[in-house]
Symmetry: C2
Subunit: 592 residues, 2 copies
């Protein structure tokens, strides 16, 4: 497997050439204090070192050895403990945290790139700090001052980790039917009883304590999703003097054996009257959890991007080295018995698809992160627009990046031929590790329903109009002859997206099932259209330097590849999105 090299130049390009992050940060007081270009560059460079030298080397052995379970005790794979220590001591667990509690307060535009590096290095490793950061977000927004002082500070320092305990055996997506109970006790806390499954990082040996965020229902809670509350349940209780106290009644019942991410512990966690502390208001737990989930979902999306980047780097190195056959247009390397497989159009197609999709998704991840930052730090209309676009694009980021992530890891594997199937090359691991990202944190089908249902239909397309309007303004403002080759297909794509949205909403007025019928295809149409916007912006930022600098030349040529070869995928998807729910429902269940 090729050594992972963080694409720092491209990250820099996206941040500063395309999205003018420096200016953006200067304009927002809360960010101007904590970050500028120099700081950002230094952070990315230091993080790249950790990802390349500390995290990426864990991945192969982590896959082979995995986590082990013995009588409730979970032992992580070789090197994980030391690597986590190095990572935490470097301050990386605090990167996006609230400065009031010891965090560094870096914008999401920066932490998203940091997440990509971790995921490209080793998805399994990335999950431990990832879940901790996500749990921290819920706490910082909804936790009491006491909870924040007691727990959040130690999570930022990397002394303690976090987990999200939602799923139960009978209740995955459908949290309204969970059975875990919370009963108020005399001390003002709650006794939590129930069993959770699929808990990532639910138990491990990386930190001295684990802070579980647990969804449970009070005895008198309303049925369904409106009766769910959120609790902090630490593995070890914390004494008044802040020292670690006795073990809470939280045990790990078993760990799962999985297709991939072998080095991530996926646990059954049993709460047996464990002491828990309410986060936010009673029965409002789902909303508190969603604060975390919006961030996590983008993070899960970025797993697909990281794996896709790694796959591209591996496959490219292999393709350049491997000689097989001759070019269709004559021998290219007469000194060798065969040409490198880079001469074959289909190999170039696979590599360029990967490159164009990775770079497009990196830009889109940064764009969505920018909306999160604006939603959090800006004011007025800018803030409101950031809110809307964050809501709209969170399911897109989660599902589109991970679907493309799988495509890119499989394409990379295909470039390897037979060696792509052999474990020692490491390429097949990328496929297995990436596959989960389409499933957890809400399957991609659920994301598609969230997009078309809650984010589009529920507000009659208002959020989507905000996006369409922005792209139209960009199109109007971009009139140079050089840009016409990109602006014309972008215009067609945005027109068609608008038409498709209206068409689905009209169809759904007659049959609510039309939303579900269209959901997955619609999400992908949106994704390819959003990437067209990204690629137009990237081409624009590169055109005048393309003659003098190969980096920019490559950008322009990759943009052309995107428009020629990938954007047309939207056409068939739009056709099938509107093909009609009746075909799905006319056939009764017994006839399947």
């Amino acid at each position: 497997m090729a050594e992972y090299k963080v694409p720092l130049r491209d990250m820099n390009f996206v941040l500063f050439d395309v999205f003018k992050a420096e200016q953006l940060w200067q304009d927002i007081p809360a960010l101007a204090e904590s970050v500028d270009k120099e700081t950002a560059d230094a952070i990315l460079q230091e993080c790249a070192k950790i990802a390349e030298q500390v995290i990426a080397p864990l991945s192969r052995e982590g896959d082979e050895v995995g986590v082990s379970f013995d009588n409730g005790v979970v032992t992580t794979a070789p090197g994980y403990k030391e690597a986590f220590k190095t990572y935490a001591e470097g301050g990386w667990t605090a990167l996006g945290g609230d400065p009031e509690y010891g965090g560094m307060g870096m914008p999401k535009m920066l932490t998203a790139l940091h997440e990509e590096m971790l995921c490209a290095g080793d998805i399994s490793f990335s999950l431990y700090p990832g879940l901790t950061a996500g749990a921290g977000l819920s706490l910082v927004k909804h936790g009491s001052e006491e909870l924040k002082q007691r727990y959040l500070t130690r999570m930022y320092s990397g002394e303690w980790a976090g987990s999200m305990c939602l799923t139960e055996a009978h209740a995955g997506t459908d949290l309204g039917i969970i059975r875990t109970k919370a009963v108020a006790n005399d001390s003002g806390s709650y006794n939590i009883t129930g069993s959770k499954i699929f808990i990532t990082g639910g138990e491990h040996d990386l930190t001295e304590n684990i802070v579980h965020l647990v969804l449970a229902k009070l005895p008198d809670a309303p049925a369904g999703a409106r009766g769910i509350s959120l609790f902090v349940v630490p593995k070890f209780k914390v004494n008044e003097d802040e020292s670690l106290g006795e073990a809470n009644n939280v045990t790990c019942g078993s760990i799962e054996h999985k297709m991939g991410i072998h080095a991530s512990s996926t646990c059954v966690i049993n709460f047996d009257g464990a002491e828990g502390y309410l986060v936010g208001e009673i029965n409002k737990g789902l909303a508190c959890m969603f604060t975390m989930m919006n961030y996590e979902r983008i993070g899960v999306g970025i797993q697909g991007l990281g794996a896709g980047e790694r796959s591209y780097q591996n496959a490219l190195e292999y393709a350049k080295d491997r000689i097989q056959g001759r070019s269709a247009t004559g021998v290219k390397n007469p000194d060798k018995a065969a040409d490198s497989i880079m001469v074959h159009a289909d190999v170039r197609r696979m590599l360029l698809n990967m490159k164009a999709l990775n770079e497009g998704n990196r830009a889109l991840a940064t764009y969505i992160s920018m909306q999160l930052d604006l939603s959090k730090y800006a004011t007025g209309e800018v803030q409101q627009k950031g809110d809307a676009l964050t809501a709209l694009m969170t399911p897109l980021a989660k599902a589109f990046f991970t679907d493309i992530g799988l495509e890119n890891t499989i394409a990379g594997q295909q470039v390897f031929g037979g060696h792509g199937f052999i474990r020692e090359w490491g390429q097949e691991q990328l496929v297995r590790d990436t596959r989960i990202a389409q499933i957890y944190e809400g399957t991609n089908g659920i994301q598609a329903m969230d997009l078309i249902g809650r984010k589009v239909a529920a507000n009659k397309g208002q959020f989507m109009n905000i996006f369409v309007e922005e792209v139209r303004e960009y199109i109007s403002a971009t009139s140079s002859a050089e840009m016409a080759e990109f602006i014309a297909p972008l215009t067609a794509a945005i027109d068609d997206l608008e038409t498709l949205t209206a068409g689905i909403l009209a169809a759904a007025a007659n049959d609510q099932n039309e939303l579900g019928s269209a959901a997955t295809d619609y999400l992908h149409v949106f994704g390819y259209t959003a990437l067209a916007y990204m690629w137009a912006k990237m081409a624009e930022a590169s055109l005048d330097k393309a003659d003098s600098d190969d980096f920019y030349k490559s950008k322009v040529l990759t943009a052309r590849h995107y428009f020629a070869r990938l954007l047309p995928r939207r056409i068939s998807l739009a056709a099938t999105a509107l093909s009609g729910a009746e075909h799905l429902y006319n056939i009764e269940d017994d006839l399947f």
Copy 2:
């Protein structure tokens, strides 16, 4: 995991309702002797029992335990030896074999369905008899009478197995550069020396002998593919009295650790002056091997079909059992806490896509098998047409069925949600086992180049015209009002396929790289168009019975789903196939 049930009704439908196999067999003297509907039904039923009761149960433990290697000795997974014995004793290793040497002489239309059952049961198991049957085909066509009497008879009886030894570490697809040497010795045989990798079934404990078919070069052979000869190299030599003699100089150096098919031994096989016997003529080995490969490639395609069917059955059972959320159009199951996930449009979409693609591919596999049978047993124009369509559709079968196989196993996994990622459910194994089928026996990119290059461009589209003409005749002959909904989109698809073919050939006249640039997308356009032809024929065979029989009703509704939801995929693929090779080559290797 759901118990595997062979789709016997559908197999029967395709053979007898759609392709009128009974009449076809009666019309061909060589087949009329050996098979009729009654025999075929009995064979399918008996084979289904073996697949369901003997082979399918091997799969999970085979995956967990895998094959083991110790000092040259390969031990298969638990139960494989007994299962292979049962399988061979049932006569199944002889099913498609030449009756002159103890085979049963069954047509490919039947053996292909038998292969589907094996692959759905356990791809790893299917490979041992599959490779043996393939090796047998090369021998029966190109081997001397002595080789056939000595080796073929024992391969048909299941006493001995076969393997194909092509790939070397530096030479996968590019067989012209192999280094294995064959030197004539005094006894009229050859001494074979070299090392082969990725040899499926190269060593195992299922049979007392293994008959390797080995590609090697004579010392004075011309360079490249024109200097390759084919040899039989047995693991144990055979004495004059037909008893097993001394061990040949053939050893297994190691086995590979792979993403999937853990129970299939993938070996490094070292030949150290091993005794080998020429098959066919000197320097014509590649042609002899291709006899085998055409059959094997369809067989590999059928692995994708078998896995897709298994995935569908599993996912359907899971979807019916699993309750999550409520229907978009109101509660469907008020007695339970939630509705079954069958109420969700996106789940139905995934299941129906699987169903329509599996059933379409089963019909197409049978259609291509029919061409193989006509090519082998018919005479005159019918035989010639069979030859042409076999050549044209072999790469399609290999690549399209396996690409769709991966799609269908991944879709099934997605229906399972988190449980799809957990090993104990067995669904993730299908993904890992199926993935190799896109790679081995010539990667799907190679198949796509074979299609557009050798099978289309090399004869200026003549083979493709034969297919287009057949479909046009079918369209002309199918004028009922009921069929119009299927005939109209089929007509559009076949028109567009013809236009696309002409467009690519025209573009390639200016730039040979246009073939490679279009290859993969073109293969898929062909596949979806061929499936439209299959679905029209299946709808036609079902329409008049749809009111009285749920099987036929389901067929008609699934046909509608295919035309509404899957055939439109061809539109984007056609657009990208013609997007221009310049986008792939303008970007120099250093700019990737």
